[in-house]
Structure formats: C-alpha cells, structure tokens
C-alpha cells in the first residue's frame, strides 16, 4: 500500500516516512504543492498525508484539484494550525480526517489505517492480532469468536492497540486518542490505568491472552506473539 507525505519540514517528514515504512507501507515524500500535484495526478496512493501550510501554497488547493479530477485517494490533513476553520474547511474540501501538530506517531498510524479501512467498503473488514479480531463493520472485537462486552472507549482503546501492535503507546498518546485532548488536560493517567485494567479483565473473562503489558511506567504495549 502506497502513501504520500506532503510536508515541507524534512526532519519531520523523514521521521514519518521511516515510521510508516516500518509499519509496512510504501511511502513517498514531497516537500511542496507543485510536486505533490504532479505525483498525486500520476500515481495511485492509498492515503495522502497533507500538510496545509506549504511553501508554495495552501494544501487545500491540492484537495480541490483531486476532487476536480476525481482522483480517489484518502486524505489525512496534518496542520499546526489548530483552528477549527482549517479543520472544517479541510473536511468540507473532502479530506477524510485530520491530525494537528504535534501528533503522536501511533495516532498518525491509527488514522491512516482507519482511513484505509473505511475506504475498503466491500469485503470483510477485520484487524487481527493474536486471538483478538476486530470487526470494523460492526465495531466489535472478538476473542475466540466470542464478542467482548466493551464500552465505546474501551473499543477505541483496544483497536488503537491493535493498529499499533508491538509499539509502546504512551499514556499521553492514549489520552489524546481517547479524549482528543487539546485543551487543558485533566490528569487522565489514572483513568487510562483503569481503562486498561477493565479491558484486560474483559479479555480474561473469555479466556483470552493477556497480551497488553505495561512498559517502563510510560505506557502500554500490545505484543504480537
């Protein structure tokens, strides 16, 4: 699966590129709007990760061009401008989702994967790790074919782990994913501890594997065995 990163900051772009490549994607990178248009019009990308503030224009222009030419690529907007204007405009212009800088890479990966899943309308829509099987069409997670009785947030949390298997998810990253924290944050870490504890309990109840571990007191990791 091919992704295109449009980002003028080289350090950031390289970092994203390496990370997404490690996650199994083929990733290309451009630093400006012109180049991005050339690539996007010629090649097929599953998802374009688009920074809005580019040196030669606003990323929204690419969005409207894609729409005009009926190019069917998923678009994830990345922007430092956390104003709702940009977000709303981006989504109106046909973007699939947005993240604001600075974002957690786990969040980026989860969003990219989620866009890909959402666009895959036909066929089964499953994510599988160990004995966990997430059915994205019904928003259920099954262990040994038994559905887990998860709350909405618990489902989001476990899916986030599954999208980011074998990676440490820091508490900050989990908090942002679950509660979209951009405002003054309450001390969410106790809450995360309780959330994870509840999810583990529910998995154990149906004799599932305990594959979520706490790591260095910094976060949690879902190990793929």
């Amino acid at each position: 699966m091919k992704l295109l990163i449009v980002e003028d900051n080289l350090l950031l772009a390289e970092d994203m590129q390496t990370f997404l490549q490690e996650s199994g994607f083929i990733v290309e990178h451009t630093i400006n709007l012109t180049e991005a248009c050339e690539k996007a019009f010629v090649y097929d990308y599953e998802v374009i990760i688009l920074d809005l503030g580019l040196p030669d224009g606003n990323g929204l222009e690419l969005l409207s061009e894609l729409k005009k030419r009926r190019i069917n690529a998923g678009v994830l907007i990345v922007t430092a401008k956390d104003s709702i204007d940009d977000k709303v405009k981006g989504l109106e212009f046909g973007a699939d989702d947005y993240v604001t800088k600075p974002f957690h890479k786990a969040e980026l990966l989860a969003r990219v994967k989620s866009i890909i899943r959402r666009r895959n309308f036909d066929g089964n829509n499953f994510v599988e790790v160990n004995d966990l099987k997430a059915d994205l069409n019904t928003s259920q997670i099954l262990v040994n074919d038994q559905p887990l009785d998860l709350t909405k947030k618990e489902y989001d949390l476990l899916l986030y782990f599954m999208y980011n298997k074998n990676r440490i998810l820091t508490k900050e990253s989990i908090a942002e994913h679950l509660w979209g924290d951009d405002i003054d944050q309450v001390d969410s870490f106790d809450f995360i501890y309780n959330h994870v504890k509840n999810v583990r309990k529910k998995i154990a109840k149906v004799d599932g594997m305990n594959s979520i571990r706490s790591v260095y007191g910094m976060g949690y990791k879902l190990f793929e065995l």
Partner: protein
C-alpha cells in the same frame, strides 16, 4: 464605590445657566426694587421739602395758606414741641375717581415766628407704586423668556453644534480591535472636535497595528513552535521504542517526553486563550444548551465511571446562551472535566440548568484554593500537578467576554460553579 449618575453635558450646561440666571435675576430684581424705592422716597421727599419751604415762607409773611393743596396747618398751643417728623403711607378715597389711592402722609411740627404749627402734608404715591409693580412684572416674563431661549438653544446645540461630537462618540462605540474597523470621519469646523477626531483616528490605527503585530507574533510563535516540538516528540518516541536505550535511560527519556508534551499543550492553550481574548470567535448565535450538555455528559460519563463518579443532569430546555459554539463547548468541557478531576470517588456530579442559570457541582472534602485564585492563570489544585492550570482561566475569560457571570462557591462540601446569563 457607588457610581455617579451621569447626564448629558448640554443638560448640565443648561441647568447651570438657568441656575445662574435665577441668581442674576434675583440680584438685579432686588437692586431694581431698591432703586425704585429710593427714587420714590427721593421724589416724595423733594415735594414735601418744597411744600414745606413754601408754607413756611407764606406763614412768615403772614399770608393765607389755604390754597395749598394736600396740606394742612394746625396752629398749636404754646408749649415745647419736638421737631419730629412722622411719615405714614395710607389709603385715601378719591371721590372723583371713586377709588382708594395710596398716599404718603407727613406730620411735622414747625415753628414760625415763635408759633408752633402742626404741618400735615400728603402726596399721592399711587403712580410710584405702580411703577414698582411694573418693574417686578417686567422682570418675571423676561426671566421666563430667557429660560425658554436657553433650553431651545441647548437643544439646537445638541442637534447641530454637537453633532460631530456625537458622531465621534458613535464611532468610538463601534470600534472593536481586530474587526477591520473603518472610521467614518465627519466634517467639523470646531477645532476641539477636529482634534479629537484626529487623535482618535490615530489611536485606532495604533491599536489596530499593535493588535495585528501581537496576533502575528502569537500565531507565528505558536506555529513555529509546533514543528520543532513535533520533531522532538517523534524522536523521543523513537527512543522509547528502542529497548536498549530504555534499559539505561528510561527516566531521562520519560522526563524529556513529559516536558515536551507539557510545552506543546501549553503553547496550544495559550494560543487559544489569546484568540479568545482577541475576540476571534465571532460566530455568536443563540444556542440552546440542553442538547450540548447532554452530549458532553454522554461523552464523559464513561470517564467519570472509571472513578465511580456518577453524572446526573437535570436540564431546562429553555436555557440558551448567545455565544460562539466552539467557545460554549470549551466552557462545558472544561467545567465538567474539572468536576470529574476533583470529585471524590463514589460521589455524584450534579449538573442543572434553569431558564437563565447553569450549575455544576461536585463533592470534595477539601476546599483547595481561595475562590479568588481559582480563575487565575496557572493556578491549580494541590492534588493535580500535571494539569496546566489554564482550564478555569479560559472558562472565566470566555464568560467575561460573552456577558456571562461565573461564580464559585463551596457549600456543603461541594464545589459549585454557577453561570448566570446577563445581558449579552
């Protein structure tokens, strides 16, 4: 401090003018009346003296004095009479005209050739008193006319002369920094108003420039901060993923990671606060709060549940606030999160609204802060060191800018926040 009642300048000037006119008229009326009295007395005196001299002359010559009108001479018996003069005003019936006329009578003892006489002189002073009455009755209408003229004149002043001033005031009222204010200048030949207008235009321009510079600076800073912060965070996440590094440096990496997150949030939140202060959220409309609150409660119910805290909402469908939707979200979100954060386990958070108030309260055993410190920036409860301490400051700022009154109370071991809709 009790505020002083203000009234229009022109009304003040008119009232002062009237006041001074009353004083001026009272003084001039008194002077005029005194003068008239003086004139009357002098004329009567002159006439009496004249008659007196003539009579004495006649008596000395031994002539008859019967032909003297309005004079009477009575020969007195021998004796020692004092030379006293007694004046008296009295009404005397005028048979010809059939009316009473005011007269002045003078009784005086005179000695001529060693004989004492009682001399009684009288003088019709009706005309003089009429003159006095005329003076007074002229003053009153003049005073009334002058008062009317002053009132009419001040109305004219406010309509015409003060028009440019009122225009400048209206323009001042319209001005909001950052809203691309265009000043509509007014033509005036009054130099004070022209100067005022010029100074005000200069001020507006400076305020606008300062605002733009500050806005640009804040935006740039916030924008330019985010990219390096994102890079630091990503690199730190790489380190976190590296087991070898974490074996040896977990604590350091964690510290860097925590601080960069804190910095990033701080930058975002301060930027938001600046935007709120700069009135950049201008899509005000009347929002019925019930569905918004219910939505938030639903979203946070699970979070509260993790702490075994129940959320109970008792809402009035008529409660509405005129505000930007984004800001309203922030207010509810921050207040609810604050309540969850400080609530004791197994307690209840109560959210109620009436037609014009919103109230949220949570149970807590300790009142942690002085109420006055609560809304200050970077003030946070003892139990929560990782919070930025900006949540309530933001709520307060939003309330202040949208004509909402927010109050904090600690009653019956409960922290209560009440928002009352004012005139917005």
């Amino acid at each position: 401090m009790k505020s002083l009642r203000s009234s229009k300048l022109l009304i003040k000037i008119a009232v002062l003018f009237l006041f001074f006119i009353v004083i001026a008229f009272s003084i001039s009326a008194t002077v005029l009346i005194l003068k008239t009295d003086h004139y009357i007395n002098k004329s009567v005196e002159r006439s009496f003296i004249h008659k007196h001299e003539r009579i004495v002359e006649q008596l000395e010559k031994g002539q008859d004095i019967e032909f003297f009108k309005e004079a009477k001479i009575i020969k007195l018996n021998k004796g020692d009479y004092k030379n006293s003069i007694i004046d008296k005003d009295t009404l005397i019936y005028n048979e010809t005209l059939g009316v009473d006329n005011l007269h002045r009578l003078r009784k005086q003892v005179i000695q001529v050739n060693g004989i004492s006489y009682l001399l009684i002189l009288k003088k019709n002073i009706e005309d003089f008193t009429n003159l006095k009455a005329d003076v007074i009755s002229t003053l009153i209408p003049v005073f009334i006319v002058l008062s009317i003229v002053i009132v009419v004149f001040s109305v004219f002043l406010s309509r015409y002369l003060f028009r440019p001033f009122n225009h400048i005031l209206m323009q001042m009222k319209r001005f909001r920094v950052g809203e691309n204010f265009s000043y509509e200048s007014v033509k005036t030949t009054t130099s004070e108003f022209a100067t005022l207008q010029l100074l005000y235009q200069g001020m507006v321009q400076r305020a606008e420039e300062d605002y733009q510079r500050l806005k640009e600076y804040t935006e740039n800073m916030s924008h330019e901060f985010q990219t390096p912060l994102a890079i630091i965070r990503n690199k730190t996440e790489n380190l976190i993923a590296d087991e070898e590094v974490m074996e040896n440096h977990a604590q350091s990496v964690k510290a860097v990671y925590d601080e960069v997150n804190h910095l990033s949030k701080l930058s975002n939140t301060l930027k938001l606060l600046t935007k709120i202060e700069n009135n950049e959220f201008i899509n005000k409309k009347t929002i019925y709060t019930k569905p918004v609150i219910e939505d938030h409660v639903e979203k946070l119910r699970e979070l509260a549940g993790l702490k075994s805290v129940k959320m109970v909402a008792n809402l009035d469908g008529d409660h509405a606030i005129n505000i930007d939707a984004f800001l309203l979200e922030i207010v509810f979100k921050n207040l609810m999160r604050n309540a969850i954060l400080y609530a004791t386990s197994n307690s209840t958070i109560e959210i109620t609204s009436t037609a014009d108030t919103f109230k949220i309260s949570n149970h807590s055993d300790t009142s942690e802060q002085k109420p006055s410190d609560l809304f200050r920036r970077f003030s946070k409860g003892k139990s929560n060191q990782s919070s930025l301490g900006l949540g309530l400051a933001i709520v307060k700022k939003i309330c202040d800018l949208n004509g909402l009154l927010i109050e904090y109370k600690y009653i019956n071991s409960r922290h209560c926040f009440v928002i009352t809709s004012g005139n917005n």
